[in-house]
Amino acid sequence: MKYLLPALITTTLWGQITFDRILNANKEPQNWLTYSGTTLSQRHSLLTQITPLNVKNLELQWVFQAQSLEKFEATPLVVDGVLYTVQAPNDVVAIDAATGRIFWVYSYAPSPEARTCCGRVNRGLAILGDTLFMGTIDGHLIALDSKSGRPIWNVTVANTAAGYSLMHAPLVVKDKVIVGTAGGEFGIRGFLAAYNVRTGKEAWKFYTIPGPGEPGHETWSGDSWMHGGASVWVTGSYDPQLNLTYWGVGNPGPDWNSDTREGANLYSDSVVALDADTGKLKWYFQFSPHDDFDYDSVQVPVLADMEWKGQLRRVMLWANRNGFYYVLDRTTGEFLQGKPFAKVTWTTGLDDSGKPVRVATANPTREGTLVYPGVQGATNWFSPSYSPHTGLFYIDTWENYSSVFNKLPGDYVEGRRYTGGAPRSPVPSLRGTQVLNRTEEEGYGVVRAFDPKTGVRKWEFKMADVTGSGVLTTASDLLFAGGREGYFWALDARTGAELWRASVGGPVDSGPMTYEVNGRQYVAVSAGNVLFTFALRQ
C-alpha cells in the first residue's frame, strides 16, 4: 500500500484527458482532443445534429477576433466546453466554447531572432491530462496548465537563430509529446523529437536527414546533408495497434537549386513511420525523390482501414503537394496506388513502385521553366478528410496551378534564406489579394472527392480563387471547407452539392472542426484574423 500511494496521487493530479481518451476520441465526439480530431487524422466527426436537411439553418454564434494580423491557421481543441486555440504567433487563448467569452490568455513573446519562411503562424495545440503543449516560432516547446494558462515547463527544441521554428500542433503519444522543426528555407537539418510530458526531458530524436554511417546518408552528395532542410511542420498521426507514428517530411534545400545535393535526398518529401516509443525508423516512402520544386510532403497522414482487393488492409491515404494522391500499406509502407488529382507536368506518371518518372526538360533553369503544379503544390499542408461513412477521400486542390521555376546560385549562411531560386506564378503564394482578377486557366481552387479504392473522382466543387482551407466531414454526410475568396461552405459529402455558405470576409487558412456543448453542435473555422462558430438556429 505504501508503494501504491504516490502512483494514486499522480493519477489524480494527472487525471483529466488521459491518452486512452485521446485514442478513443470518437467515443466523445462533443470534444476535439487532437489536431485532426483523432490520432487517425481523418478530420471526420461522428456528430450528426447538423444534417444536409437542416444545415441551411446554420447561423453565426460568436466570433473571436485575434489580436494578430498573421494568418489564423490553428485548429482549436475543445475539452468539455472549453475551446483552446492559438493567436499568432504564440498566444494561447482559452475560450468558453458556447459563448466565446475568454477565460485566460497566455502571451508568449518569441525571440526577435525567430525566422519563418511564410508567416509567424501556429497551427494549434496538444493536450494531455490538464496540460497543453505548444511549439513556438522561436524553437521552444512549452507546457501550460490548461486551467490557468500558467507555464509548467519550457524547453529549447532547436536553435531559432539558425532558422529552426515550430509551427504545427504537437502530437501526444502515451507519455510523450512529439514535435518536428520547420525551417526548410533556411538550411536546417530537420528532425522530430519526443519529450516527456511531465518533465519536458527529451526522450528520442529522429533526424529526417541521416547522418554519416546511417542508411540513406549516401543519398546526399558532399556536405549537403548538413543543411538539407527536410523540415516537419504539420502534425503526424498514430496507429495504436502498430505503435507507429507517421510524419510527412518537407522539401530538400536549397529548394530550387539541387546542384549541390545529388541523390534522392532521403527522407525529404517522404512519409516516415517511426516506433512511437523509440523514434526508430520502421519504414519510409519517398514521394518526390531529388525534388527541386519545393514539393514538401508535409501533409496530414490519413489512416483508414478498408477492404483492398478482397482483404481488409490498414492503409494510409495521402494527397501530396506533387499532384498525386497515394494509397500506402501503413504496416509496411508498400505502395498500393497513386494517381494525379490535378494538372501535373513534371512527371509522366508513377512506376510500379510509386516512383515518379521525371520529364527530362522539367527542371528549374536560369531562365525559368513552367511546371505544374506550381510552388505551393496541387494541395499543401491543409487537412484532407476521409469519411468512413461515404468511403470517400476529400482533397482541397489547386487546379491549373503553375509556377515558372528558376534557379539561382547561393551559399549557406546560418540563419539566412537558402532556397536557390524565386519561382513566379499567376497565383500569389500565401495570402492572395483582396480582389480576384484571373482566368480559370491561371489556377483555381476545388474540393475533389475520390473513391480511394478505384481512384475514380466522384465529384468536385469549384471555387473562383484557390484555398488554404482544410476539409471536415461528419457522419451525417456533410462536408465543410472554405476558400481564399472568403466563403465557408457546407456541401453534401455524397454529391458535392452546395447546401449552405457563410461570407467570412477573409481567406480561410485553417481546418474546420466541430464540437458540442450542452447538447448543441457547433462548427468552427478561422478566416482572416477571426475564429467563427456556427450552430443551428434555435
Binding site: D96, A98, D145, P151
Partner: protein
C-alpha cells in the same frame, strides 16, 4: 479611497510620497522596473553600490518628482541612461519603489529554502490550495513565480495575515445560481452579461448573470493565518522558499 490611502502610507519611509497611485499603477511600475531597471539595479533594488532603491536609499533624489526626472533623463557621466517614459510612467516606477521599501520590512531572515519547501509540502499543507509548476490545487493563487512578483516582507505578511492585502486578480468570487448552486472561484473575466471563473474544483466555468441569484467578491481571504502555526524559524524558511520561486526557466 481605502486603496489609495494604503498606497500613500506605504511611502512613509525616508521620503514622503507626493502622489497618489492605485495598486494597478504600482503593479505597472513594477513591470516597468523589472523590464528596464532590474538589469542594473537588481530585483531587490540594491544592485548598484551605494544605492538601495528597495529601502528608499537614493543618492541624489529628494522627492518623487526628482526620482522620476532621473528615471527619464538619466544621469550624465554615469551608467544611468535616459529612458523614454512618460512622466506618469516614470512616477509609477517611483510608486513601485515606495511600495518595495514598505514591503522589504520583514521579520524573517536567514531562512532555508529547502526546509521551507518541506514546510510548504508538509506542515503547511499549502499545496491543498496553491499550485507550483503544475502541482497542487488551484484554489489560491498559483505560486510558480511568486518570488518574482512579491518581496519577502509581502510574502511574510500574506502568510501571517492573508487579509492584509489581496491583489485584485486573486479575489475570490461567489455566485449562487437561481437553482441554488453555489460556485466559488477566482474571477478570470467578466462582461455585462456573464462572468468567467476558475472554480474551487478546478473547472473553467462561464456563468450568465441572468441565471444568478446573487454574486459578489468574497471580502475575506479563505486562507488561514499561519501566525500561530509556524515558529519564527519556520516562517523564515517558508518565506525563503517562496522567494526562491522564480517561475519556469526559459532556456
Amino acid at each position: 479611497m481605502r486603496r489609495l490611502l494604503t498606497v500613500m502610507t506605504l511611502g512613509a519611509g525616508t521620503l514622503f510620497a507626493q502622489h497618489s497611485f492605485t495598486p494597478i499603477d504600482v503593479e505597472d511600475g513594477g513591470r516597468l522596473y523589472r523590464a528596464n531597471c532590474s538589469i542594473c539595479h537588481d530585483a531587490q533594488g540594491d544592485g548598484v553600490p551605494g544605492i538601495d532603491l528597495g529601502h528608499g536609499k537614493f543618492r541624489r533624489a529628494k522627492s518623487d518628482d526628482d526620482i522620476a526626472t532621473i528615471i527619464r533623463t538619466g544621469i550624465p557621466g554615469t551608467a544611468m541612461p535616459p529612458n523614454n517614459f512618460t512622466d506618469f510612467a516614470a512616477l509609477t516606477i517611483v510608486a513601485y519603489l515606495r511600495s518595495m521599501a514598505a514591503a522589504t520590512a520583514t521579520t524573517t531572515s536567514g531562512g532555508n529554502p529547502a526546509r521551507g519547501k518541506t514546510i510548504y509540502e508538509g506542515k503547511g499543507n499549502c499545496a491543498s490550495c496553491h499550485r507550483i509548476r503544475g502541482v497542487g490545487a488551484r484554489i489560491g493563487p498559483d505560486l510558480s513565480d511568486i518570488g518574482n512578483l512579491r518581496l519577502a516582507g509581502e510574502l511574510e505578511r500574506s502568510v501571517v495575515d492573508p487579509n492584509a492585502e489581496i491583489l485584485a486578480q486573486n479575489r475570490h468570487f461567489r455566485a449562487v445560481t437561481k437553482d441554488g448552486a453555489t460556485i466559488i472561484g477566482t474571477l478570470l473575466n467578466e462582461d455585462k452579461y456573464s462572468v468567467q471563473l476558475l472554480d474551487s474544483n478546478g473547472r473553467l466555468v462561464s456563468l450568465m448573470r441572468a441565471n444568478l441569484r446573487e454574486s459578489a467578491f468574497v471580502e475575506k481571504s479563505p486562507m488561514p493565518s499561519y501566525k500561530d502555526q509556524l515558529t519564527q524559524q519556520e516562517l523564515s524558511d517558508l518565506v525563503s522558499y517562496l522567494g526562491s520561486l522564480k517561475g519556469v526557466e526559459i532556456p
